[in-house]
Amino acid sequence: MTTTDQTDVVLEARGVTKHFPVRRTGRDLVVGRRRTVHAVDDVSLHLRRSTVTALVGESGSGKSTVARLLAQLYPLTGGEIRLGGQAVKAGRGRSFRSYVRQVQLIFQDPFASLNPVHTVRYHLTRALRIHGREATGTELTELLERVQLTPAAQYLDKFPHELSGGQRQRVAIARALGADPKVLLADEPVSMLDVSIRLGVLNLLRDLKERLHLAILYITHDIASARYFADTTLVMYAGRIVEGGDSETVTQRPAHPYTQLLIASAPDPDRVVAEAEQEEAGSGEPPSLIAPPAGCRFHPRCPKAMERCRTELPPRFELADGQWAACWLYADGAETTDNAGDHEKAAAK
């Protein structure tokens, strides 16, 4: 589960970076300064066949930007994206289409991502037609059945507002499947849905992964659902991925202080007892991405920050079970010891 061979990798990001220009102020013009939002910096990840990869992190940490970069909706500032081992640079028109045929994006908000003026039929027909496929009744029915909207006929001529949130999200997924993609990028696909219907959509995604062998990137801020649903989990903080590994490992034995903070903060009905212990966990607000902190971006909030954290950017340190973390705490011994318990101790230092 941890180190599958490279052939399984469908989509790969290598050192992907995205900086958004900030609208320049009068003073900027005078000083000749050009400011940017460092939304995503040096992000590398692999999406594998039949695997769900979760990307978690707080709001504004750059998760959606990563998804849009992978969908080629934004041009890259740096790095490269490889589809099936080939570096791609989709521009517009034909090459872009052939890219999106394989990589499809599902948006966070099913209420906003379907055009209120078009029927389900229109949305799906377009998705099929764009990719040069027939859009007959059977094709549409099949598509809807894939996302468990049955009987399909009942849904085809409905407008989005006539559907519940879960149904809308299914339509959005069906539209993505219309292209018959290899990769699904799901950007917080359930965060706008009611508690009781979230699960249905997540189960559907998992089912698709298994049946269609899709590679799925599941973006969320709910780390508990990553544990439940994803095979691997990546943790993002302020535009960088700070930790990654097997979902169970990352959630049960978080290595990076930020992941630890995240997990400590997540609501948990079972906690009650442990309340007092976590009192001293980090606080403060996420950093500005216009002028991100030097060194480790988490150091201003980190209870375990060291001198080195302020100046030097921590590289990835491999830990046990395919887990890794970008934190100086693991600078020594990470390579030498395979003991998973070790980094827990190191973190507690």
Binding site: A71, L73, G93, F96, R97, V100, R101, Q104, L105, F107, Q108, D109, A112, S113, L114, N115, P116, V117, H118, T119, R126, A127, I130, H131, F159, P160, H161, E162, A172, R175, A176, G178, A179
Partner: protein, 325 residues
Amino acid sequence: MAVTAAEVAVLDTTETPAPSKRRFRFLRGRKTAVGLGILLFFVLIAVIGPWIAPYDPDAMSNELLQPPSGAHWFGTTQTGQDVLSQILVGTRGVLVVGFVAGIFATILSVLIGVSAGFLGGMADELLSVLSNVFLVIPGLPLIIIIASFVSDTGDLLIATVIAFTSWAWGARVLRAQTLSLRRRDYVEAARATGESTWRIILFEVLPNLTAVIASGFVGTVIFAILSEITLAFIGVADISNWNWGTVLFWAQSNQALAQGAWWWFVPAGLCIALLGMSLALINFGIDEFVNPRLRTETGASRKVRMRVGFTPVARPGTPEKETRP
């Protein structure tokens, strides 16, 4: 300024769905119904006016300046023409100019506003300057000037001129709207699905602007009708084409009011006001559709008085307790 309100209101309509079947639902509602009723009445007159007019509006007779009577419901003019016939025949000109100008101006504003909003960047800057220049140039005087430099001031020309000088507001509102739509998820989603830019503009963005476009259209029609009538009244437009403005022009140049011939002057004015009101009511309906909070008919009955911050308590049986401040 109704336009401003609409502009602001439409910016927060993310939650209001405008589905296609219900895309024209803004045409329902009591106010809109009344407005549509009046408008339809005038449209009917515009179509059949020349046939049902009892006299030739140009025909002079010996019944000079007669007050309303059975033979002449709206009285006669200085030269014995029938005022009712003039108004009936003149309705067509008013509506044709109003609607043709409205359509032209709307097309212009959609073209310029939506492209500016959607394309962004340099195109946006240029188109914005263009529409601002047209906003800055004084409308009526400009119309007078343009109208006076063409030799044939027929209805169509007047309509074109009015359209040419009145599209800018709509373009501005549409641009703002498009800017907000451009980043909507469903537009991005269409892009991510692989739709081409022009298809996105045409099929994803435009249908969602229906209400805004309709409201701009109705507003332009009101403006065009008032401009046309004003132009006719001050003698710039061709006053040998009958419309309500030319009726007023002749009445005024013959000093109808000073002569006590109110019947020559009043009906045309009332018709304009009525038509204007009907269009304004339709616009109201559109505004209410775009911004549901504006609805006056909130289902409030006479019994329960709604008031912000003090929810009425209406227990069945017990009379409502008055809550005055």
